[in-house]
């Protein structure tokens, strides 16, 4: 029973924080509202005995949101929310779309005849996940790894302005890179 109350509370918190993301003026607050939503979901996962995934969700999403905060403040007109303004288009249509998707999903969720629970819960969900990643589902992990690597390269290429020709000269023959601020390595 205590678990039920906790899950419902966390669920409402997650949704409320999710709504707050698009309601608050301040970009910093929007970012951290989203983080609160993620942490609430991590709390529910914890209640579902998915300890590792819950903690990893909290870990990854915190780092993502900290980085997100920088971008929000860099690119938004009103980072601290000192001058209230709205930056939405087609709010009514979007609200209708969001509400109808929620309604359709909810109707489905409560009318579908869900199958019974298959099998029993393992002693250790973390071990189950680890063994499948390194065993039966290794292909998924390999694809994820390659995808992440491609993302790192593509992201860096898109985001940086200065390439090696800017750093090492047109002939690439400079011994030390020409950077506005020198790094800590003697190269």
């Amino acid at each position: 029973m205590a678990g039920d109350i906790a899950v419902v509370t966390l669920g409402m918190l997650a949704v409320a924080a999710g709504i707050a993301v698009f309601v608050v003026d301040s970009m910093a607050r929007a970012t951290f509202a989203l983080l609160a939503s993620f942490l609430a979901v991590a709390g529910i996962l914890l209640a579902l005995d998915l300890v590792y995934l819950a903690v990893v969700t909290a870990l990854m999403m915190t780092m993502e949101m900290a980085v997100m905060a920088i971008f929000m403040i860099m690119f938004m007109m009103n980072p601290a929310g000192l001058m209230p303004m709205t930056m939405v288009h087609n709010a009514r249509g979007s609200a209708v779309a969001g509400a109808s998707v929620f309604t359709v999903l909810t109707v489905g969720i409560w009318t579908i005849d869900w199958p019974a629970r298959q099998g029993t819960q393992p002693d250790d969900a973390t071990r189950q996940l680890g063994e499948s990643i390194m065993g039966g589902h290794m292909l998924v992990m390999l694809v994820i790894g390659i995808g992440l690597f491609a993302t790192i390269i593509a992201g860096t290429v898109l985001a940086t302005q200065r390439g090696r020709y800017d750093r090492f000269g047109p002939e690439l023959d400079a011994r030390r890179p020409h950077d506005p601020v020198a790094g800590g390595l003697p190269r």
């Binding site: 860099m74 007109m77 302005q161 200065r162 506005p180 601020v181 020198a182 800590g184």
Partner: protein, 199 residues
């Protein structure tokens, strides 16, 4: 964006008017630096004295003045232990009785050697604020020599406000703090003589 300004990395960001001082750790009291901060780069820098210190040759010995400046520099460079030793040595040198003064001299020499030998300090600040006669590290070393008793003129790292402002323009906030702390800033010349303004 409210008001952006071009930047060296091509990413225009908000520019913010800031003033540093008149009371900041490691800087002489009364020194005010104003400029516009974009990201962490300061541009359009102007330096002035809020409270003009007495001009003219100071009464303290060269080694004491050097230890004073060195302690301020070490505070900004983030070495509280060394800064505390420099201040302790300085206080001992200013004492009345000869034994304490000797103790101060004995403390100043190993301190100077420690600062000179620190590879971490060298790695951290080397190359910042380079002028014709060296960077912030060279200036700190000059104070080390003066503190250890080498014969130098009164302030080896003297600089005028105007030159200083030109030197720190376009630097990062942290570099600006270090560069200013690496100079003995001369008192502003009386406005009547020069007619230039830093206001």
């Amino acid at each position: 964006m409210a008001s952006t300004a071009p930047d060296r990395d091509g990413l225009e960001l908000d520019a913010l008017r800031v003033s540093l001082g008149p009371v900041l750790p490691g800087w002489p009291t009364g020194l005010v630096l104003t400029g516009s901060l974009q990201g962490d780069v300061l541009t359009g820098v102007e330096v002035s004295w809020l409270d003009q210190p007495a001009a003219g040759p100071s009464q303290v010995p060269a080694s004491v003045a050097a230890l004073d400046s060195l302690a301020r520099f070490l505070v900004v460079a983030g070495w509280p232990v060394a800064a505390r030793r420099a201040r302790a040595a300085r206080d001992a040198l200013m004492a009345a009785d000869e034994a304490t003064v000797q103790r101060g001299r004995d403390a100043a020499t190993p301190l100077a050697r420690m600062v000179r030998r620190s590879r971490t300090l060298r790695w951290s600040v080397r190359g910042i604020g380079a002028t014709g006669d060296g960077d912030v590290l060279d200036r700190a070393y000059r104070w080390c020599d003066a503190a250890a008793g080498a014969h130098t003129h009164t302030s080896p790292n003297a600089v005028g406000l105007h030159d200083l402002a030109a030197l720190v323009d376009g630097q990062e906030l942290a570099a600006v703090r270090l560069i200013v702390a690496s100079f003995d800033i001369e008192a502003a010349p009386a406005p009547a003589h020069h007619g230039m303004s830093h206001a």
